[in-house]
Amino acid sequence: MFIYSTWRIKVLLLLPSIIFFCVYVLYPVGSSLITAFQFKPTYQPGHFVGLANFATMLTDQRLWIALKNTFIVVVLELALIPTLSFLLGLFLNVDFRGNNIVKVLCFTPYVISGIITTLVWFFISTLIPVH
């Protein structure tokens, strides 16, 4: 049973995932870390500018608006999701007729692609008349 658990075989079995991790996670993270300190148009070579990008950030009005919006989204979601999903979990833990159907219906929006669910809500919101 443990004949396979030598050091060499462990490394051999881990090798594919290590290679994939390096190529698809470590390399992009490292290269974007380098790009963060460069002036670089997309798909063109860039040159180092030091901390100039971060200086731009301080005066970028659009970024501050984006950060404010992100803050609103984060606070609202942190307030809504844990409470509502806790209550929903309590409700679904009770055995009643049609329990599984309700479970499936609740889980469906998570499985459907986010683009489609957002478009559905977009169409719903355009149906509401506004005066």
């Binding site: 608006i65 984006a66 979601e77 889980f107 998570y110 509401i128």
Partner: protein
């Protein structure tokens, strides 16, 4: 309009993402509730605890670990909310409704400033890393008491 007004879009984004993610997080909570031993509820029933008291004093404290994980997940997904904003308004009008994820995407794809977009990604990474470490630290201290 719910969507497209200068200020209401982030709220709409939060509501839509809540609706979308509710099923997943309630599955996490249900798994946590299945782990709670039934003896606790039996004992509480013996002592004459009402249903609300059972939830308040048994279910909630026993779900502390689940709560921690859910809070970190929700935070990370909320900061990264790109799809919803991109589909709803794409930052219109006049970049008023961007979140940081969609603004990064806009800078990278439309304005073709890869360097600035990367530094925004770095900012986002530091933000998420810092806050989730704080989350986990705070909860760890509370458990250790």
């Amino acid at each position: 309009m719910l969507i497209g007004g200068p200020t209401l879009t982030p709220y709409t984004v939060a509501v839509i993402e809540t609706w979308k993610a509710l099923g997943f997080y309630s599955v996490l909570f249900m798994a946590g509730m299945k782990q709670i031993p039934a003896e606790l509820y039996d004992a509480a029933g013996m002592d004459g605890a009402s249903a609300i008291q059972r939830v308040r004093f048994i279910t909630l404290p026993m779900l502390r670990e689940t709560n921690k994980i859910v809070a970190v997940y929700v935070f990370l997904n909320a900061v990264q909310s790109l799809q919803t904003v991109y589909i709803l308004t794409n930052g219109q009008p006049n970049f008023q409704s961007h979140t940081i994820g969609s603004y990064l995407y806009e800078v990278f794809v439309s304005e073709r400033r890869a360097g600035y977009a990367s530094s925004l990604a770095l900012l986002m990474f530091i933000l998420m890393m810092g806050v989730s470490i704080i989350f986990l630290r705070l909860n760890a201290q509370r458990v250790g008491e």
